[in-house]
């Protein structure tokens, strides 16, 4: 698995798209942090002394969609450019390829969380210091917020990989989850207020503590989200293992 992991990592680090996605996530996080502090809102005022408001600033934003797109890129770039053929010629055992892609994808999810979280904390602390505010949060609380976001991003990246492996088409693998997020998730929340918590978007909300009234705790939500991710990867891998590629 080692050589294949290095190969898949090399493939993703030697093209532009993953770096652009990661850069966009960091830029969005930076913009959100700056706007939060300079926005002139009640929340901005609260940042000076309120732990909950400071947590909003220092926790990574809800940017899991970027991790999902990265996962979709890992799965579909080979198909989009037909590089799946030389990949499978070098490694005909396809489940090994899927396994390596899953590990690389999880790493990209973690990298996204590190980049976004690092941006949030660095900018947040810097902006608070400039404003003369004192930190009302402990390091443990900041770390917990990052860990929750990292769990969501790793799971979403793997969901993206599974969806990409199932659909193969890169545009579809990115657009379908975006539509689900923008249209289906709000509809589900409206139509099934109790059940929507158990969808990936609901579990994400629980983990990121974005909504009150969750029926389950963070640990169970993390487990269920991991199960969704594992299911998507297994389904995508099973399809990829059987599919003709020329």
């Amino acid at each position: 698995m080692g050589p294949l992991l290095r190969s898949e990592t090399h493939k993703m680090t030697t093209i532009r798209a993953p770096w652009l996605v990661l850069g966009a996530a960091v830029a969005l996080q930076a913009a959100a942090s700056v706007l939060l502090v300079l926005g002139g809102t009640a929340l901005s005022e609260g940042l000076r002394h309120d732990a909950a408001a400071q947590r909003m600033l220092l926790d990574p934003g809800d940017l899991a969609i970027f991790a999902l797109v990265l996962g979709a890129l890992v799965a579909t770039t080979d198909h989009r450019h037909d590089t799946i053929v030389p990949t499978l010629l070098a490694t005909p055992r396809r489940l090994q390829v899927v396994g390596a892609k899953a590990v690389v994808t999880a790493g990209l999810g973690l990298l996204t969380a590190l980049a976004v979280g690092g941006t949030a904390v660095t900018l947040g602390l810097g902006l608070l210091a400039l404003d003369g505010a004192s930190l009302a949060l402990g390091a443990g609380e900041v770390a917990e917020g990052w860990a929750r976001a990292a769990t969501v991003m790793v799971a979403c990246a793997l969901l993206g990989l599974g969806i990409g492996a199932l659909l193969r088409n890169q545009v579809a693998a990115i657009v379908v989850p975006l539509v689900a997020l923008a249209v289906l998730a709000p509809l589900a929340q409206f139509a099934m207020p109790d059940a929507h918590w158990f969808l990936p978007t609901g579990l994400e909300q629980i983990l990121l503590e974005r909504q009150a009234g969750a029926p389950i705790g963070a640990a169970l939500a993390a487990g269920l989200l991991a199960a969704y991710a594992a299911g998507a990867v297994i389904a995508g891998g099973a399809v990829m293992a059987r599919r003709d590629v020329v």
Partner: protein, 238 residues
């Protein structure tokens, strides 16, 4: 003993039979031309041989093993297919490096094959800026990366200029003379006639003729004439 053995391979796509109970062999030390009209089933057959397509019946083996059974796939078979190539945004060197990493080959081997195909100088340019001929050379470099015993090439002369075609002919002849097995699919019959030792001609997924090229073509009858006679039915029905 043949290195490539295709035994009773059948592949259907819905109601269409792409390959129909096809059997042939390719021997070491020889270049075997794999010929047939468009849609005859050549690419599908090569896909089955290389483990990229699942056969509905039959089996294709290299050195007695299916592709997925090979302990060192890259060291056993190198392939260049029309479908499949480098990412346009990646440099030639990085494309080969990714494949080398997957097959456990080192950077030195990447530089060796880049030199063999004459791409050392532009290796750090993105593939999007390569000509078709340069892409073919990069594909051939990828096929050679594992120092394989068998080469399977689908239209390798595409985009090559006359000097490139002569270079390719020399490369394949040298490979076969050292005991390697070459299975070569091409539409350029004049080039095939100069290159191959044996031919397998297929039409509608079935084997129409197989054997040494001398049995099919001679001074009185060119390979092109023999090929067109054999495939007249297959071509007429298209």
């Amino acid at each position: 003993m043949p290195t490539i053995t295709v035994e009773g391979v059948t592949k259907r796509y819905g109601a269409t039979v792409a390959v129909d109970d096809l059997s042939f062999t390719a021997a070491p030390g020889r270049i075997t031309g794999f010929l047939g009209p468009n849609g005859a089933g050549k690419t599908t057959t090569l896909g089955v041989l290389l483990g990229l397509v699942r056969a509905d019946a039959g089996v294709a083996r290299i050195n007695g093993h299916t592709m997925r059974e090979l302990a060192d796939p890259a060291g056993t078979v190198g392939a260049l297919l029309e479908h499949g190539g480098p990412h346009p945004g990646r440099t030639g060197r990085n494309h080969l490096r990714a494949l080398a990493l997957a097959s456990g080959r080192d950077r030195g081997r990447v530089e060796t094959v880049l030199g063999l195909v004459g791409l050392t100088e532009p290796a750090d340019k993105r593939v999007a800026g390569y000509s078709l001929g340069m892409r073919q050379r990069l594909g051939i470099a990828a096929a050679l990366l594992g120092d394989p015993q068998v080469m399977v090439l689908d239209e390798p002369a595409n985009g090559l200029d006359p000097a490139g075609m002569r270079w390719l002919r020399g490369l394949l002849r040298g490979f076969a003379d050292e005991g390697g097995t070459v299975l070569l699919s091409s539409h350029v019959l004049a080039e095939v006639a100069q290159t191959v030792d044996d031919v397998v001609v297929i039409g509608h997924g079935r084997c129409l003729a197989a054997g040494p090229i001398g049995e099919l073509a001679d001074a009185d009858r060119s390979l092109e004439d023999a090929y067109l006679d054999l495939t007249a039915d297959a071509t007429a029905m298209r």
